[in-house]
Amino acid sequence: MFSRAYRAAVTVPPLTWVAVFLLLPYLLLFCYSFWSVSSAQVIVHSWTLDNYRELLRVNVYLQTLFRSMGIAARVTVFSLLLGYPLAYYLSFHAGPRKDLLYQLVIIPLWVSYLVRAYAWKTILGSDGVLNTLLQYVHLTQHPLDFLLYSPFAVVLTLTHIYTPFAFLPIYASLEHVPRNLVEASQDLGASPLQTFWRVIFPLSIPGVLAGATFAFVLSLGDFLAPLLLGGPSGIMISNIVVSLFGAAYNWPLGAAISLCMMLLVLALLFLTESLEKKWSFR
């Protein structure tokens, strides 16, 4: 059908791209994680498991990893709690306003991540909008300092940024719930609340799983929000990786942590995918 030259012309460039910019870096990362750094700050190309031992031995790495997972979990929960009702309202009750509201949910994605993170900085800072307002109405005497440079600020910012990512798959799955099933449920005597819990919610579970995966994976690997708003107590695992690759000049340890993170995320993706399959009926 197609000539050899044509087939080569369409397959070689993308394969080369994947090999050079995806497989090769992964391979390098993998190799680096088994190398080490000498006292003279030179990378020694001999195989060792030291980096992985270090990872388990020094408390701060695992602690930060767990804290990152905790933050990501909270972001996931809040994104779902915000995204689900919004998606439900849009899909079932917004009527003719649906398209407009949908655009309004999407618009923040057009604004740079950095701008949104800085916006929270000006809102939450000690001279920020929120503290000024709280003092103006005499709810507090002094600026609340836990608002900025804290895990709270990180969770808030990440929730704001990733809620649309949770919203979109949930909305898509709710749009796919056949409306005659909702009518059938009511017809059989189920109140609106019973209909929601027995029909609509179970059928939207694949969307919830996809949304949760987005929110969790994206916020777990985030490093800008903790960098800008996290302060010392809001440090996340990616910040450690960044500093290991940068100032600390310990690429092997950084590579080992990255690899562990990647395995973690991959395991999570497989898990949610199999759960999604179990809950889809089309």
Partner: protein, 368 residues
């Protein structure tokens, strides 16, 4: 002597004197400026099988959805057993629906689907189990209790949808073209099953269809809808033999419409005339093809009070046991005549009909 009944009014009442189970009173519905139903009134008796028959766009499904509670009527009321029904949400109405595409819950098994209504009504677990079992046995689907709906065929899903509705023992069952997705043979089989099931459970059925044959086979009464208005409501026999309007006569079965003129008790159409009971003026008559007989000249006429005329065969259409002949009369009038296939008529014929069989019908106003 020819007796001609008065045209049956569309609001003919329920047979018998007991209070109706459901009454639809002057219901109208518009979507925006577009009227879908106009001033519909009808009553459904206890245990009755009523079919709402109409073409697509006649408003039949809308009427059903208003009874079920999925649409609000723009005006009018619906009463059930002495209570207003139309201001109740669908989940408080003792009415269940079999949906056109079954609407089985894909995430629940067959038995969970059937038990759904009982579960949301918080019926005790063991009672649910027995009633679901009985309902599945009734539709001969007990073997599929643990299957998911996606694993069973359309006809089987149909039975489950029926069991899921009937298990709640509704006062009234609504069926929205439930057989339209089935192939012809299964469809005929289900018509018979559905009818005998309805007799067995004694629940009133309101059955929506566009298929006049299906309506004739199954119903106690047929309500014929046309572009949102009730043309006629009567038993299949009545609606067939005494159609109220030209539309009813043509939609249900095949007919000849004869445009005649009545003058002092005699109707005249082309060169034919016969005695009638109608007031003077132009009248439209419906004459069924099977009511025109071909006279075997050797045997002679079958009666005295008959209209006799001559014609010849222009076309013939074979229908199995019967044949539909297109006859052109000597005066140019064209008529369809149904004969038994075994009578092999040819060429010029002598024909006759009894005056009572020419039923005066109202002209249906032409609507789009």
């Amino acid at each position: 002597m020819a007796t001609v009944s008065q045209n049956a009014t569309p609001r003919s009442s329920v047979p018998g004197n007991e209070a109706p189970l459901l009454s639809v009173r002057n219901v109208a519905k518009s979507f925006g400026k577009n009227p879908v139903l106009r001033d519909i009134s009808l009553e459904i008796a206890e245990g009755e099988f009523l079919t709402i028959l109409g073409e697509s766009g006649s408003g039949k499904t809308t009427l059903l959805r208003i009874i079920a509670g999925f649409e609000n009527a723009t005006s009018g009321e619906i009463w059930m057993e002495g209570q207003r029904l139309d201001n109740q949400p669908p989940y408080r109405r003792r009415v269940n629906t079999v949906f056109q595409h079954y609407a089985l819950f894909p995430h629940l098994t067959v038995q969970e689907n059937v038990g759904y209504g009982l579960r949301v009504a918080k019926v005790p677990k063991d009672e649910i189990a027995t009633r679901v079992e009985q309902a599945l046995a009734m539709v001969k689907m007990a073997a599929f209790a643990a299957s998911k709906p996606a694993k069973i065929s359309g006809g089987q899903q149909q039975r489950i949808a029926l069991a899921r509705a009937l298990v709640n023992r509704p006062r009234l069952l609504l069926l929205d073209e439930p057989l339209s997705a089935l192939d012809a043979n299964l469809r005929r089989q289900m018509q018979v099953e559905l009818k005998s099931l309805q007799r067995e459970v004694g629940i009133s059925f309101v059955f929506v269809t566009h298929d006049q044959e299906e309506a004739m086979v199954m119903s106690d009464r047929i309500a014929l809808l046309r572009t949102g208005e009730l043309e006629q409501i009567a038993s299949p026999r009545e609606i067939y033999s005494r159609p109220a309007t030209a539309y009813a006569a043509q939609f249900i079965g095949h007919t000849n419409l004869l445009r005649g003129d009545v003058r002092s008790g005699v109707a005249r159409c082309h060169s034919l005339d016969w005695p009638v009971n109608s007031p003077d003026g132009p009248v439209l008559f419906s004459l069924r093809p099977e009511n025109i007989r071909i006279v075997d000249v050797a045997v002679g006429s079958s009666g005295v009070n008959v209209v006799r005329f001559r014609g010849h065969i222009r076309q013939r259409a074979f229908h199995g046991s019967t044949e539909l002949l297109q006859i052109e009369c000597e005066d140019g009038l064209k008529l369809s005549v149904r004969t038994a296939t075994r009578d092999k008529w040819q060429g010029d014929l002598e024909l006759e009909f009894t005056p009572e069989d020419a039923v005066p019908v109202r002209e249906s106003a032409e609507r789009i």
